[in-house]
């Protein structure tokens, strides 16, 4: 059973606009959330994370928002750039567990 879900398989955005990628989770024990970015033929690379004690974390153009009551997080990219075109995976861990639970990914295309 998928504990981390990304319901939008793809998203297209104009360059300069905001990209919003969404992620939902079902396990209330998750306390740490991450976003990874993956280009074709490369491994995923870590982008940004957030602990459950926060509701927002910002790093440059990237901001992650966490809504614990809704079990929902989102990644905002502002402004979007063509180089941001990639597959984005949401991941979660909890209870000091060693492994991560990944979503199915959202393919972002930023149109120049």
């Amino acid at each position: 059973d998928q504990q981390v879900k990304q319901n939008s398989p793809s998203l297209s955005v104009q360059e300069g606009r905001i990209s919003i990628l969404n992620c939902d989770y079902t396990n209330s024990m998750f306390d740490y959330f991450l976003w990874y970015k993956k280009y074709p033929a490369e491994g995923p690379t870590f982008l940004i994370s957030i602990s459950s004690i926060k509701d927002k974390n910002e790093d440059g153009r990237f901001t992650v928002f966490l809504n614990k009551s809704a079990k929902h997080l989102s990644l905002h990219i502002v402004p979007s750039q063509p180089g941001d075109s990639a597959v984005y995976f949401c991941a979660a861990s909890g209870n000091g567990a060693n492994n991560l639970f990944f979503g199915t990914g959202t393919r972002l295309t930023v149109i120049p």
Partner: protein
């Protein structure tokens, strides 16, 4: 910079062959992981290891085994490859302690089983 390397980028094998996928990390990380990535299914954990000679099953261990004889190296073994094991295989490593540590991924091995 953390470096995770995988022995092959592309591999073509025949059904029934024994396949070894090797992963090496250079950051003295305690934890290492093997995932497979399939379209529409995301990354699914096959096995992970939290120490030398220690291993734990992930979500989809059937048809796979692993070996961790040295801290820096984690091998994934397909005992008898089948066509449904055609996939992208990703290795990752992470410093120990659980919780809030980032996993670092290798470039992946794309395996085709004919």
């Amino acid at each position: 910079d953390v470096k995770v390397t995988q022995s092959s980028r592309y591999l073509v094998k025949r059904t029934g062959e024994k396949v070894f996928l090797e992963c090496v990390q250079d950051m003295d990380h305690e934890n290492m992981f093997w995932y497979r990535q399939d379209p529409g299914l995301g990354l699914r954990l096959i096995y992970f290891s939290y120490d030398v000679k220690m291993k734990e099953k992930g979500d989809i261990p059937e048809g796979y085994s692993v070996s961790r004889e040295k801290k820096e190296r984690f091998s994934l073994i397909l005992e008898s490859a089948s066509t449904n094991q055609t996939s992208m295989y990703l290795c990752a490593s992470r410093h120990g302690g659980g919780g809030q540590e980032t996993q670092y991924f290798g470039p992946g091995t794309r395996l085709l089983v004919l």
